[in-house]
Symmetry: D3
Subunit: 134 residues, 6 copies
Amino acid sequence: MKVCRRETFNAAHRLFREEWSDEKNLAVFGKCSHPNFHGHNYVLEIWVEGEIDPLTGFVIDLKILKDIILTKVIDRFDHRNLNLDCPEFKGINPTTENIAKVVWEILRKELDAKFELEVQVQETEKNKVLYKGS
Amino acid sequence: MKVCRRETFNAAHRLFREEWSDEKNLAVFGKCSHPNFHGHNYVLEIWVEGEIDPLTGFVIDLKILKDIILTKVIDRFDHRNLNLDCPEFKGINPTTENIAKVVWEILRKELDAKFELEVQVQETEKNKVLYKGS
Amino acid sequence: MKVCRRETFNAAHRLFREEWSDEKNLAVFGKCSHPNFHGHNYVLEIWVEGEIDPLTGFVIDLKILKDIILTKVIDRFDHRNLNLDCPEFKGINPTTENIAKVVWEILRKELDAKFELEVQVQETEKNKVLYKGS
Amino acid sequence: MKVCRRETFNAAHRLFREEWSDEKNLAVFGKCSHPNFHGHNYVLEIWVEGEIDPLTGFVIDLKILKDIILTKVIDRFDHRNLNLDCPEFKGINPTTENIAKVVWEILRKELDAKFELEVQVQETEKNKVLYKGS
Amino acid sequence: MKVCRRETFNAAHRLFREEWSDEKNLAVFGKCSHPNFHGHNYVLEIWVEGEIDPLTGFVIDLKILKDIILTKVIDRFDHRNLNLDCPEFKGINPTTENIAKVVWEILRKELDAKFELEVQVQETEKNKVLYKGS
Amino acid sequence: MKVCRRETFNAAHRLFREEWSDEKNLAVFGKCSHPNFHGHNYVLEIWVEGEIDPLTGFVIDLKILKDIILTKVIDRFDHRNLNLDCPEFKGINPTTENIAKVVWEILRKELDAKFELEVQVQETEKNKVLYKGS
C-alpha cells in the first residue's frame, strides 16, 4: 500500500556550470541558463509505502507526513532562489532530477526505515521526474 | 500493458474508533473524527494489466471494466455514508487506504485471474493511495 | 481588474425538505436526498474586483483575502455536516447555489464596499455555480 | 463570441519597493519580497471577442493569435527575471495584476480595434487575475 | 445566479471550404484541413442563469439539464464525424466557434425563456470559445 | 531516476475489423466503430529511466527528448486519421493499447539502449494505458 501527499513550492533557479563559458552553458542548458534566473511552481508528490496500521487504517498519518514535508522541504525552498539561497544545491545543478534527489535524501532521514519512499517533482506541465532512491 | 479506467463517487465518512474516547479520536484523527461526518469526491483509477488481444487490440474491453466498476463499486458507495450505509466498512475505518483495499477486493473477484489489478483512490487534491493487492 | 483566490473544503450534506415525504424528496433530489448524508470536496473561487493600488500593485492583498476566507468560511464548513453543524443552513437546502449565496453574504460583510465580489462554488467535476450578489 | 488561447511562461520575480526598508517590504509583501527572487509558471488565457467570419468560421485565426502571443509576450518574459530583464516592469511591481495589465497593453496594440480583449494570468494554483482593460 | 454543467464528446472533423482549392484551404486552415479528418475530445460547459427556486434551492435541476444536454447534444455529436454525420454543420465549417453556436441554438429551444444561456466549448487544452447568444 | 515528457496530438480513428460484419463490429467496439470516424486529443507521457549525468544533472536532455517525440511521433500522427493516413496502423486496430505499443516501438529505436522506456497514452479523461515494452 502506497500513500501520497502533494505539496507545492515556488522557486527561482538557473542551470549552468561555473567552469563553462556562457556559450557552452547556453548550448547545453538553453534558456534555462539565463543569468538572472527564472522560476517555476514545483509540485511534489511524496509517496510512502508500508503496511496499514489495523488500529488507525493509516499507512502513515498524512498530517504527520505533511508536517515533515512543510518543515523540512517547503520551508527551505519555497519563495527562494535554489542556486543562491539553498546550500543543498551548492555545486549541484538544480535540475528537476537533482531537486528530486535532494528532497528524497531530506525525507529519507525523517521517515522510519520500514517505509519505502518515492519522490515525484513536476517542474512544468510538460516535465516531471520520479526518484525511488539509490 | 496496463489499462486504466477512471470513475468517481461522492460519499460521507468519519474516521474514529468506537472504543476510544472523543479526545483520543480527535488527537489521532483530527477534523476527520467530527461526529456528524464530512465527505469527499473520491476518484478511482482502476488499473488492469494483461496481454493485448490481437483480434480486438484490447487488454480488456473498457466498456466491460466500466460496467463492473459502476455496478460493483460506484452503485454501492456513491451518495452514501461509508460508515452507516456500507457493510463493507463494518469495523473498518473508511480511510483512503481501506477504501482502496475494499475496492481492490471487490474487483479482484470480478476479474479473470489472468489480469493484475491495482486500485488508486484519491480523496482530496493532496491525498491519494495506491494498492496493488496482498 | 479582478483577482481570484481558490480555497477548498470537504463537507457532508443532504438535500431534502422536512415537510416532504421521503418519496417526494427522492423524486426531486434523487440520490442527494439519502438520509445518512454524502459529501463533496467543494472548491471555492473568490473573485474580488477593484482598482490596482499603485504602491503595492495589488487590488487586494491576497494574503489578507486568504485569511478572511479561511477564518470566516473554511473554518466553519470544512470537515463539517452542512445540515447538522452549520446554522447558516438552518431552513436552507445546502445546494451548491445556496452555498454560494451563504459564502457571498459572509464575505460581503468582511470586504470594503469599494470591492465587487463574485463567488464560484464547484461541487463536482461536472457541477459548479457562480453568484454575483443580489 | 469570445475565443481563448492559453499559453505559459516561466519567470523569476520579486515584489518590493526600493524606497521602502527591508522590514516594510517584508511586512507588506511577505515571502514574495525575498531579495534573491523566486519564480512561477505563469498561465495566460487571452480572450478575444468579436464576430464570426462567415467564410472561415473563425472570430480570429488562433494560429495568428498564437503567433502574436508567442512573439510579443512569451519571447519577452519566458525564462526571464521580470524585475531585472524586462523594461516593461521598470518602476512597476511585477504582481499578477501588473503582469496582466502589461500583457493587455502589449496585445491591445497588436489586435484590430474591432476586437475586445481580456487577459487572465494565473500565478499559482490558488491565485489568478483577470483584466478587461481600462 | 449561474449554474454550470460540464459534459464531453469525442468527434472527428475537418476545416475547409469546398469551393476553395486544396492550397487555399491549407493556407487558411493549416493541418485542420487534412482531407481524412482528425478529431478532438470536446468539453462543453453549459451555463444557465436564473433565480434560485426557494423550495428546492436549485436554479435548474442539474439532472434535468444533464438529460437535455445528453439527449440533444451528446447523442448527436459523440463518436461522430461532424462534417459527414451531422446535418447541423451542413455548409457550416465545424470550428469551435460554430460548434458553440450550434449547441447554443439547440439548447436555447429546450430551455425556458426565463433562463439566460451561455455555451463554452473547449477543443484542446489551449483553445476554447464562449458564446452568449446573439 | 525516471524523467517524463508530456506531449499531445489530435487524431481521428475508428475501431473495427474488416473481416467482421458491421453488426459484429458494433457489438464489440460500440460507438468506436462508427464508419465515418471520430477522434480524440491524445496525451502522451514518455518516461525515460537512467542515471543522472553528474555534469548536467540530466538523465536525458528533455529538449532532445522533446525533439525526438515531435519529429518521430507527433509529426506523424497529429491532425491525421490513424486508420487512413498512418501506415504504422495497417492491419492494427488503433486502440489506445496499440497506439502506446506503436509509439514505444518508434521511440525505442531512437533512444540509447542504456535507457528504459515507458509510454503512457491517455485517450479520454477516463481511459489511459501504460506500456513498458515486451
